[in-house]
Symmetry: C2
Subunit: 204 residues, 2 copies
Amino acid sequence: MRVLGIDPGLTRCGVGVVDVESNRTARLVDVVVLRSPADLDTPRRLARIADGIEAILEEHRPQAVALERVFARSDVSTIMGTAQISGVAMLIAARRALPVALHTPSEVKAAITGYGRADKAQVGAMVARILGLDAVPKPADAADALALAICHAWRTGGVAGAAVLDSAAATTVTDASTLTPAQRAWLAAERSAAVSGAARRLKE
Amino acid sequence: MRVLGIDPGLTRCGVGVVDVESNRTARLVDVVVLRSPADLDTPRRLARIADGIEAILEEHRPQAVALERVFARSDVSTIMGTAQISGVAMLIAARRALPVALHTPSEVKAAITGYGRADKAQVGAMVARILGLDAVPKPADAADALALAICHAWRTGGVAGAAVLDSAAATTVTDASTLTPAQRAWLAAERSAAVSGAARRLKE
């Protein structure tokens, strides 16, 4: 499954593309931080970022777009630009009939590091480890975009368009020996979560 | 000068087109409230509204787009959708090389009614009067979009792409007899503002 992750921003917009197999191994396809100069007016800045997103979609043809869910209570100084970029990104995806999933920062952190309040350095380090990179992608927007893409693939069990991880998808993983220790730990954790989720649903 | 005014919203997006002469008379060209169903996902809702905006741009070919300036401190429940739609509207305008102007609600109210804290009924009534309509455009999003478009044309002196009213534009008005009493009052007020602005600049 090929996923495009977007960490939306008007000044810096992280865009990462990963290929994630059903056994949860992930490979870096591309990562870029799109920028727009602060002295340009907002419409032109939005168009600059939109052009960049479209070029990457055109080049890499992902099957899904994962976007950070922006909250109205976030940092007031940047919230408007962030919300505008996320609107633009959603429009671009919708016009290409690509499924769009929103994940909160704590969902991404929990999926990648196992801890919903992990800091940027921890997320970056785990992204590098999951993708087998020698160094943490810089700036943080690049690592965050990749984390979003990986999070999305993992949460959906690598099935394009799927909304949540289901236990059937988790059980398609047969060869755990190709996984890194972190991936194995994650797989075990998510399997147990999927099982307990199924058990909970049975009880309800 | 033909202006498209947009009162951005995800559930209801008011879009109005007016022709405004350099003597400040304004004529209604079109007004519509675009809607998107709440049970659709956000990307598809944004695309639905974007399609509507593009159709109106295509049909009426305005020279400028006036958009309500959205503040991060506005109503939290609707702010994200509003910001996303405004981002989408700005992108559409930028890609057509149309100038985009943002006006705050109080700027619009002040331009239309003379009072920055006017209520929706007062704004609607003045919009109907300025455009010579028998009834106030409904819903309020429609009247607000028209108010934005008129405000923009008046503030720029009817010159496409101009950022502020200047006294040269104001003095092109020669035949005040074709104006409504409200327009005459406004013209006088803005002329005096322009004169005092010029006087202030001379002193500086």
